[in-house]
């Protein structure tokens, strides 16, 4: 079970809801992923077209926990404002703190992220900050009381996979709260690797929504995360320099 604050989840896949080719494909992909946590962004409503369909309104909210993000924020204050708006919906108390410090790389601003996390924890939010793969920063967020830390695997939407498994493993080793690898996952192999490293979960969006067949990819990610987790729990063999035969050495006289 994945435990985040007071909540427990049997799925370790957190799915983003952006950029799907259609609402129907999105619904099917969400279903196929088995995800129980879905991320959303907070944006201005188009007040002149109230009939516009909205994915959230078509969702059975008893089956999912919402994890709104603070995307768009560049300062702690902006992130807090977005988080408060999200909470005022009455639908959620978890928040993905996302304070971007660089438009080109979309890497998080560590100072503002830390400040925002502190303010939101004081207000009683369940706080999951998106952070870089810096072990010291992850520890500082954890010490503040964050309910999980979410280091990026590589830049958001880049599909580059885990570019620094060493740093991720440092974060995982010292973590006392769940570590959710967020951003940069490209294919199932990346998700398996994250889970084999000992991550508690994976948050991804574009890897599914941008795939040629998002529904199939959602299923693939579900299986990858389950396989990676099982492998981690099973304990893989150490790597050796030379071969060691799998077949017995006894009774070789027949050849």
């Amino acid at each position: 079970m994945l435990k985040i604050g007071p909540y427990e989840f049997s799925s370790r896949l957190l799915l983003g809801t952006g950029k799907y080719p259609s609402l129907d494909v999105q619904k099917e992909a969400v279903e196929a992923s088995g995800a129980e946590i879905l991320t959303f962004a907070v944006r201005r409503m188009n007040i002149f077209s109230p009939e516009q369909p909205n994915f959230l309104e078509q969702l059975d909210l008893s089956k999912y926990k919402l994890l709104p993000n603070t995307a768009g924020a560049k300062t702690a204050e902006e992130a807090v404002r977005i988080a408060r708006l999200a909470k005022a919906s009455g639908l959620c108390d978890m928040i993905k703190v996302e304070v971007i410090g660089c438009d080109k790389t979309l890497l998080p601003d560590p100072v503002e992220t830390l400040k925002a996390a502190e303010m939101l924890l004081e207000e009683g939010f369940i706080v999951l900050p998106y952070t870089s793969d810096d072990v010291v920063l992850a520890r500082r967020l954890q010490e503040l009381g964050c309910h999980a830390v979410m280091p990026g695997a590589s830049p958001i939407g880049s599909g580059q996979g885990i570019i620094n498994p060493l740093n991720l493993s440092f974060i995982i080793e010292q973590a006392t709260v769940p570590v959710i690898v967020d951003a940069g996952i490209g294919g199932p192999a990346d998700a398996v690797l994250a889970m084999e490293l000992g991550a508690d979960g994976v948050l991804l969006n574009t890897a599914v929504s941008g795939a040629a067949d998002p529904v199939k990819m959602a299923k693939a990610m579900k299986l990858a995360i389950e396989a990676g987790r099982l492998g981690y729990e099973a304990g893989r063999i150490p790597k050796k320099r030379y071969a060691s035969a799998s077949s017995p050495m006894e009774g070789m006289s027949v050849v």
Partner: protein, 67 residues
């Protein structure tokens, strides 16, 4: 009355007096909307009692797809 709604200057009819009226005016009553007036979040139970004044800055936001 003139309001600034989601950054746009909009003139609403005189019968729009509260946040509830404004949402009805835009046919957003049944939408999952979150409302801020002059940077103060208005809780749902306050919609009917929160009156609007000329020049108020109103934000009407909702959840959209995002990662």
């Amino acid at each position: 009355m003139t309001l600034i709604v989601n950054g746009e200057t909009i003139t609403v009819p005189d019968e729009v007096k509260t946040v509830s009226d404004l949402l009805s005016h835009f046919r957003l009553d049944n939408k999952l909307a979150i409302v801020e007036v002059n940077v103060r979040i208005i809780q749902k139970h306050e919609y009917g009692i929160t009156t609007l004044a000329n020049g108020d800055r109103v934000e009407i936001v909702h959840f959209v797809g995002g990662g």
